[in-house]
Amino acid sequence: MNGYNFAYLDEQTKRMIRRALLKAVAIPGHQVPFGSREMPLPYGWGTGGIQVTASVLGADDTLKVIDQGADDTTNAVSIRRFFARTAGVATTTDTEQATIIQTRHRIPEKKLREDQIIVYQVPQPEPLFKLESSRAETRRMHALAEYGAMHVRLYEDITRFGQVAISYDYPVMVGGRFLMAPSPIPAFDNPKMHMMPALQLFGAGREKRIYAIPPYTEVRSLDFEDHPFRTTRAPHRCALCNADNSYLDEVVTDDRGGRMFVCSDTDHCETRQEAGHAGTGEALVREAPVGSAARGGGMKP
């Protein structure tokens, strides 16, 4: 292994992280502090997720790494290579083949199974952080399940915009007890977390927090009875695979405002194309001025 311990981290560190993970699984949605280690990657590159992955990875595992839904971005490729080199594990881009999926910003479209683990990279684990800057106070709010302030935020959004204006990292209640930040996945992906058969693990490297959702746990997006949580997606079909229910990215195709909507989950899209689904392959010509919306669903991170 080129002088590294298996999966880079020493065994003692992995044991420490596994203890934190066990505690996190035992208290779904609760943030557990852990002694985050320096990794040979800068924060923001998923050091928290990498440490979690390193701690649960076995020699027989097959690893998939996605970034914004894609397997081929620099970030995804370097993390995959990192583990191929330091742990010698098989890697894949195929969601079905993977036993561990490390992700940033998306949950695969393909329904995950009981024998899979999904590891989320988390920049900010504290869902109350915009409302309350004191860590001691947010800990108290979680301990006492005092989440009125979060609903005030939703109330304000509905008052101002007619709807909740949170399109990424939309807060959820886990197991009816803990308010949790799902990491910057689109709100479109939130329902996938609910009763997911796969184990969901979350690692925040810079903030030194780990949390988890065990399989088949209730995960509810915060809402009001008369303004129920709704997912939104761009009202288009994927130009490549014709999917009408996947999360779409808007891709600019030329400098004259041409654009194309394609699946953000590249593996999902390719699998569908291999199965014979085909989109128009054509770019739409933008009527609105260039630069108004950059991502699928008209949402920005």
Binding site: H151, Y155, E225, D226
Partner: protein, 258 residues
Amino acid sequence: MTDETLLSARDLSLHFGKIPALVGVDADLWPGEVLAVVGESGSGKTTLLNVLSGRMRADAGAVWYRDPARRLHDVHAMPAPALRALHRSDWGFVHQNPRDNLRMAVSAGGNVGERLMAAGNRHYGNIRAEAIDWLTQVEIDADRVDDMPRTFSGGMLQRLQIARTLVTHPRLVFMDEPTGGLDVSVQARLLDLIRSLVARLNIAVVLVTHDLAVARLLAHRIMVMQRGVVVETGLTDQVLDDPQHAYTQLLVSSVLQA
């Protein structure tokens, strides 16, 4: 008043170093009653309010609260979650400076609705309707419901704080100099409002004020404090018209001179 008390304190003592902030203080409050705590600055009024409401611990003594099911609770022995829940629902606290209580970056409606949401109300339309109703009750125009508190005058901010506090229909409200820092004309209007709300909703109030005129207008009973000691207590009119203790006589006469 033969009914059971809502709040009772016995033999409260608290020193800040050598300063006696509370010395052997007893207090009783009955449902629907307004009790004023008066005395000059530094006499221990705010400290008493904080100890009665469980926000601060005494060195000695006990505070008992009777819940709607008539169970007695030792306020200082209550688990923190239960005490915080009490402060969010059955109790309220009105601060002298409304900015200490309000969320200045949240609309008036959001401020009033917060306690409802904390109590589990999850219907936006109902919360908003309730907020508007309460704004009207504190004489703030319904069309200000979406405005930010920073656009409100001092008197409006204090009325907004009162609406935010009363929205859960608390049975007991602690008020610390609620009209302090306001212009005299604004004070008068606010006092009238507090008096009518408290009477109509049958809320018990512990009211801290250094202003005997405020106590006269709002309180059924009065406690006079001097250097942490309650020197005199009784019906407001009796105490103010016929003060027995020398310190009370001094207070009353200095008011008459003013």
